[in-house]
């Protein structure tokens, strides 16, 4: 450090240079970690995606073959469909549900903090543990869900065994994990200026009108933020489905692969079928999909209202 400090650049005073180095030293664990464990593997995976690479033997360059194989891979298409299903159907349901919950929790009622705690609690439960509990809730024979529905004369439903019900079951389960988003919405709701709501009151606006014309526009940046974050997260949907469907042999995906998601198939390709090159190609396609989806969302974000723009 001392030697480096003596190399003085004209525009960089000794003191500045020193504090730069110190700063660098402080962030070095993060920078080194990022370069070694993120940046380099990312670059490598791009190369591997053009190779036939089984991890044990040296990669063998095959050009675009992996990408071509993706076009014809039936299982890959299933995984892609399932993932889009979660993003296009599951995510909006979750966000709307979370928003409604936040609206309810923003009202002034007795025991509010208790309710807030209850709704947030699932978010601090480890996903794996919670999914195991849901495994039993959804159980076709002994599950509490079927038991309760049975009181109303509903026939037993194979929540996780009937391919028609598996993804709706996952979406249903996902509502339970909404605590974080609810919390973000709650914070957003606190920021809605009371003056605007009072003005709307004076103008004779009802609760619905206030929600749609005041509250929603005012927290639209928050909604946009959760949308972007969750679109990215839902494209990487993995843990819940893996825990619910993994078998002793390491297979996963549920009946007829109805719960096989993109990240799961990627993992299987890489670590169970020895096809690291193929898995890398999948990863890059997923990256492209997420990039496009995010770009489209930003392009179409005209509905988002930023107060600071006034």
């Amino acid at each position: 450090m001392a030697a480096a400090a003596q190399v003085q650049r004209p525009r960089f005073s000794k003191k500045k240079w020193q504090s730069f180095l110190v700063g660098l030293a402080f962030i070095s664990p993060a920078v080194i970690g990022f370069l070694a464990f993120a940046a380099w593997p990312i670059v490598q995976s791009l190369y591997y995606s053009f190779t036939d690479y089984n991890v044990l033997q040296p990669p063998n360059f095959i050009g675009l073959d992996n990408y071509r194989d993706l076009v014809n891979d039936r299982i890959y298409h299933t995984a892609l469909f399932n993932t889009f299903y979660m993003v296009v159907i599951g995510l909006p349901i979750h966000l709307i549900f979370d928003f409604l919950m936040a609206l309810l929790l923003a009202t002034q009622i007795r025991g509010l903090s208790l309710y807030r705690t209850i709704f947030y609690l699932p978010s601090i439960t480890p996903v794996v543990a919670a999914a195991i509990v849901w495994l039993w809730i959804f159980n076709g024979q002994y599950g509490i869900l079927n038991t309760i529905l049975g009181w109303f004369g509903v026939q037993r439903i194979g929540w996780l065994t009937d391919p028609n019900y598996t993804k709706p079951s996952l979406i249903f389960m996902g509502m339970w994990f909404g605590g974080n988003t609810i919390l973000i919405y709650l914070a957003g709701l606190r920021d809605v200026p009371v003056s605007l709501l009072e003005a709307a009151d004076l103008d004779g606006a009802g609760a619905l009108q206030k929600t749609f014309n005041v509250t929603l526009p005012m927290i639209s940046p928050v909604i946009f933020y959760t949308l972007i974050i969750n679109v990215i997260a839902y494209f990487q949907y993995f843990t819940e489905a893996w825990v619910l469907t993994a078998t002793r042999d390491g297979a996963a995906g549920g009946p007829l692969n109805s719960m096989l998601f993109y990240a799961m198939y990627l993992y299987q390709s890489a670590f169970q079928q020895f096809k690291m090159g193929y898995a890398s190609a999948q990863a890059w396609v997923l990256f492209a999909i997420v990039l496009v989806a995010t770009a489209v969302l930003f392009r179409s974000s005209g509905w988002v209202y930023y107060r600071s723009e006034e």
Partner: protein, 454 residues
């Protein structure tokens, strides 16, 4: 130079800074120690070796990864302890990777493999060997005078690929059907005359089924599943080794899948699925067979130990899979955990010594007896402690018979088995016909095989 190097809310002295850096690197160093994929102490951890006996330097430290868990793991640990005691020059540290066999590949690829690994299924042996993941054991076996003599020939043969020996098993399993004579009696079947062919099996299964008032299944006779076994029982084959052709759509394999599906069609696929989802943990007293939900179940001779452990009062008998006309009588399919030495291990001699020791008649026999598996060698398998039980005798006879089948020797078994499972599930769910499903398996696996063999 100023002592205060960072301005902000609070100034930080250089001493503080250095202290923090020191503490930070200490934490990182500790994290680095805990991070490696090796489940337990690494070879460098000489202290652990010391715990096992002689602390002298030069003691070989072997990391051994096993797939056994539960009481089977405990029994194996006893063998490892015995080995460590008998071989002061070597210390074997065993860890289980039960349910995480993927780790083996990552560890080998990462250049930090376990010294001995048995968390490899026989069906994966060829794919690991063909991809340069394993060391051939041929030179070691030759030097030790192990030539396959004394082994069941089909096992010894199953471990060979392209002229080399790639691994050895110390346990093996056959597949049988267990049944409960008490339930047979309850429904008026003669427990002394269990089904001899598939027609009789169908009739017995129906007689043993029990539904509740709402039509939900309470007990089944047998729910046949598993193409790799039933396909063989029906006389089919999955691979033509001479022509390197996948034959999963062999008419006899198709027939076996159609037959299995008749059970689902009769009982209702949704009801079967709901019924099966209510099965308790397999390795527990809640096991569906012990709990009386299945009057017959597909298991192996190892189930004798499970029964002793979890349902000691239950009476259980075995039969071989009843075959249809034109099928294979006394047919069994075997797989098993293979002891191998990955490439890149530091002391392969010591690794081999551990495998060789476990393969000695006495040691192999003791471990197999403790977990009620069939020793893959004829001498220990014929000991009275094993074949004194007629059920065990049946398992040994099946494995020693002409219709004992191991996994096919080709590098895409994992894919074949996954696709066969999918095909089975698609047919059971009424999505596809058995013919279409198996045609698709054949075509897709063949394409992958061609790629591998290129």
């Amino acid at each position: 130079m100023s002592e205060q190097i960072v301005s902000g809310h609070r100034s930080l002295t250089r001493r503080n800074f250095l202290q923090m850096m020191g503490a930070g690197s200490a934490v990182m160093a500790l994290a680095a120690c805990a991070a490696p994929i090796t489940p337990a102490g690494a070879p460098a951890a000489g202290g652990e070796a010391a715990a096992g006996g002689g602390a002298q330097t030069g003691q070989a430290f072997l990391n051994y990864w096993t797939g056994w868990s539960g009481f089977e793991y405990d029994e194996l640990q006893k063998m490892v302890d015995k080995f460590n005691e008998a071989n002061p020059d070597t210390f074997v540290n065993m860890s289980t990777v039960f349910g995480q066999y993927d780790k083996v590949l990552t560890a080998i690829a990462g250049g930090n493999p376990p010294d001995v690994v048995s968390a490899i299924w026989l069906r994966q042996l060829v794919s690991m060997a063909a991809r340069d993941g394993l060391q051939p054991l041929t030179p070691y076996a030759e030097a030790a005078g192990i030539t396959g003599e004394g082994y069941f020939p089909q096992f010894w043969n199953a471990w060979q690929y392209e002229g080399d020996l790639w691994g050895m098993m110390i346990t093996s399993n056959s597949q049988v059907i267990a049944y409960q004579p008490a339930i047979f009696q309850e429904v008026g079947l003669d427990p002394a005359a269990p089904p001899q062919n598939t027609a009789e099996l169908d009739a017995a299964s129906q007689a043993l089924e029990k539904m509740d008032a709402a039509g939900n299944i309470e007990r089944v006779g047998l729910l046949p599943a598993g193409l790799t076994w039933w396909g063989r029982v029906f006389g089919g084959n999955f691979y033509d080794e001479t022509n390197k052709q996948i034959t999963a759509n062999d008419p006899k394999v198709v027939a076996s899948l159609e037959w299995m599906n008749t059970y689902r069609e009769r009982l209702g696929p949704e009801k079967v699925a709901a019924f099966q989802s209510g099965f308790g943990d397999f390795m527990s007293t809640q096991n569906s067979f012990f709990a009386g939900k299945e009057a017959m179940t597909q298991v192996g001779e190892w189930f004798i130990q499970f029964q002793k452990q979890f349902a000691p009062d239950l009476v259980m008998e075995f039969i071989a899979a009843p075959a249809p006309e034109g099928g294979r009588e006394n047919c069994t399919a075997f797989d098993g955990s293979v002891f191998t030495i990955p490439v890149g291990v530091k002391n392969a001699d010591a690794s081999w010594e551990f495998i060789r020791w476990l393969s000695e008649d006495q040691n192999m026999g003791d471990f197999c007896y403790a977990i009620q598996n069939v020793p893959p060698k004829l001498a220990p398998a014929s000991e009275e402690r094993f074949v004194g039980d007629p059920r065990f005798q049946m398992a040994v006879d099946l494995l020693n018979g002409p219709n004992a089948f191991g996994p096919d020797k080709m590098p895409v078994n994992d894919l074949l088995y996954t696709r066969l499972d999918e095909a089975q599930s698609a047919v059971f769910n009424g999505q596809m016909s058995a013919q279409d499903a198996l045609d698709r398996v054949t075509q897709e696996v063949q394409a992958e095989l061609d790629k591998q063999l290129k």
